[in-house]
């Protein structure tokens, strides 16, 4: 069993969960994830390890309550336990001394981005974080990122915080100016956002690394449910990724495969108690 040390709502539908898992805390590296299986009747879901505290033996997960399993997971209070937590899985992030790096995060992707940005900064890079969301309420971790980034730029669709527009608009500005153009870009977020970022960096041949989020079951390479096409080759995101060269990723295929169980997912959400459903929590 894996005790939940704390579980806090930090933005609408977004929770920071700290879980006791000493082995995982000790062996994890930035970019890796865990598979959570909350109880015997739950499904297995992949979540990025946002942070770890080796002394306390804990890992931090950011969980966006979007469907049946994430709503049930985030409804678990501190003091209860998860049945299963397996990891760390996947390959660690490619951390190099690039020079200037732009880290682009959209929505909950910002939470996935956080450990990468931190590791890149610790490796001596000048990190500029560009984070975005629909509105100011959905901007997370700006202060935490500011602790080690040379700059944290915010974009909101409604203009309620930072620049009005998408993260790609901010990135465009960085690329346009020779004094701010990054040597590498890391992008984590919804598929259309990652696709837009790679299309923007492609003509400039800026190395662009994306963290993919396909459907997973075991997370150990035994089923191929998470397969993606990268550079024309079939890869299993759970063992070969989840990070890949964005310029080689077939994003349309990824987006299409992510829609496989949409009907079933909608059915399951209706089985949740009303106060646990995402649309109720939004209010």
């Amino acid at each position: 069993m894996f005790p939940i040390v704390s579980n806090d709502l930090i933005a609408p539908n977004l929770y920071r969960m700290v879980i006791r898992a000493p082995r995982i805390a000790r062996s994890r590296q930035p970019g890796q994830f865990v598979i959570v299986h909350a109880d015997q009747e739950a499904e297995r879901i992949p979540l990025t390890i946002a942070d770890a505290d080796i002394d306390r033996g804990t890992v931090t997960l950011f969980v966006q309550a979007v469907g049946y399993s994430t709503c049930r997971l985030t409804a678990l209070p501190a003091g209860t336990s998860l049945r299963d937590l397996a990891g760390p899985l996947g390959r660690p992030t490619e951390i190099k001394p690039w020079g200037r790096v732009a880290c682009i995060g959209g929505g909950v992707g910002t939470a996935v981005l956080y450990p990468l940005a931190k590791a890149l900064a610790e490796a001596g890079n000048q990190v500029i974080s560009v984070i975005g969301g629909r509105n100011a309420d959905l901007i997370i971790l700006a202060d935490e990122l500011a602790e080690f980034c040379v700059e944290v730029l915010v974009a909101t669709e409604d203009g309620s915080r930072g620049r009005q527009g998408f993260v790609t608009h901010v990135l465009q500005g960085l690329i346009a100016d020779p004094r701010s153009i990054p040597q590498a870009v890391y992008a984590v977020g919804p598929v259309p956002m990652m696709k837009a970022v790679t299309e923007m960096t492609r003509p400039h041949q800026i190395r662009t690394i994306v963290s993919l989020n396909p459907i997973m079951i075991d997370g150990t390479g035994m089923c191929g449910g998470c397969r993606v096409v990268v550079g024309g080759e079939l890869k299993f995101a759970c063992v070969d990724g989840p990070e890949f060269d964005g310029h080689l990723v077939d994003f349309d295929l990824l987006a299409d495969r992510l829609s496989t169980y949409r009907t079933e997912e909608c059915k399951m959400i209706r089985k949740l108690p009303e106060q646990q459903r995402p649309e109720q929590r939004n209010q």
């Binding site: 397996a86 035994m222 089923c223 191929g224 079939l234 063992v239």
Partner: protein, 470 residues
Amino acid sequence: MKKNLSHKEIMAIKRVKMPEQDAQDRSRNFKEVNLGLNKEQAIREAQRCLQCKSQPCVDGCPVRVRIPEFIEAVAEGDLPEAARILLADNTLPAVCGRVCPQEDQCEVLCVRGAKSGPVAIGYLERFVADWAMEHPEELTGGKPPQPSGKSVAVVGSGPAGLTMAGELAGMGHSVTIFEALHDTGGVLRYGIPEFRLPKRIVDLEVTRLQNLGVSIECNVIVGKTVTLEELSEEFDAVFIGNGAGLPVMLDLDGENLKGVYSANEYLTRVNLMGAWRNDVPTPIIHGRQVAVIGGGNTAMDAVRTARRLGAERAIILYRRSEAEMPARIEEIKHAKEEGIEFILLAAPLEILGDEQGWVTGLRCQKMELGEPDASGRRRPVPIPGTTFELEVDVVVNAIGTRANPLLTATAPNLKLSPKGNIETDNTGATNLPGVFAGGDIVRGGATVILAMGDGKNAAAAIDAYLKKND
């Protein structure tokens, strides 16, 4: 009782038939197909054994169960004694009695085979094992072994690891199994369906091991959570039995359409995650027309699962003929009775899909058999100009698996074959001192009982290694 029977009377007894669920009913439920023998049937069948001195059946068993001895005890109605004999050599008899290909192993060597059919050794093993599970109180009394003070880590809780753990615990060693998934059993849990091996049986077999003092830690991925090196430092010896769980992909156009599964994914969703029940969150696509590509036991399990999930048409597509199918004869027979359609001598060329990315069909090529290949089976050769299309909404790839590199990728000094399997000598020892391996990670995809045989074999080698290093 047997002693009163003449040779003629013994020879006159016909081989027992396994009672089964009706084929129509069972093709729509996940309950066990074979219902097991009752005590009268078992005793009668046991009386057919001639107790021959040469005991060829034992040579056919990879864990060398003392078959004539346990069968004689059954014939005499002494089930506690039969169970003790069986359990002394086989850690998982209720599993083996259900999934072993006895027709190729113990039973194929039975001297009664030629004339009236071999003694139904598998059915009897299952009968005794099931009885033992229901009567644990009658089996106690054995002295616990003297603790050796030595510790052994076992990687993987599949058939090889469980057997290894049981053997070593019986020798007094302290054993810890590390399992990557959230539940035990390996392929017994995620691969073989409920209708062939109820998960209750796996639970009971695992509980028996835990009662012997074996500890099991799930959610530990050796190579990720801990490394082989760390285990080697912490334990006196390590056994790697992490299997061959990596699917071989079809490498065809359309492979990534929605509705195309590897058999591992399809079966894991259904067996491990319970997707056959409609009240669990893990989804599975209930295809109306399902094609399963392959001819092994995994293919049979997948296609019979598809049928039970409601498929109107569940098809096996295999590139050779039925004679070359690696699946057990019993599974092929059961599949046919359940309405599975066999399209033989045909290979897939392309998976067809619609504009929304869903599978709609399979373009296939008719084949004929040519010269034998390296495996000794006749090679399938395409017949020019004979393609055809099948309308399907789910495709399951069951063409095979290979070694998973998750552990070996982080153990650079461990010697591997070109295919990525761990190399061992005939005792199961790898090139690293104190590190042993067995089962599919050494052999490539094979059978439950061969993995168990490896586990047993390596347990003896580990015991000898630990004593030498005392």
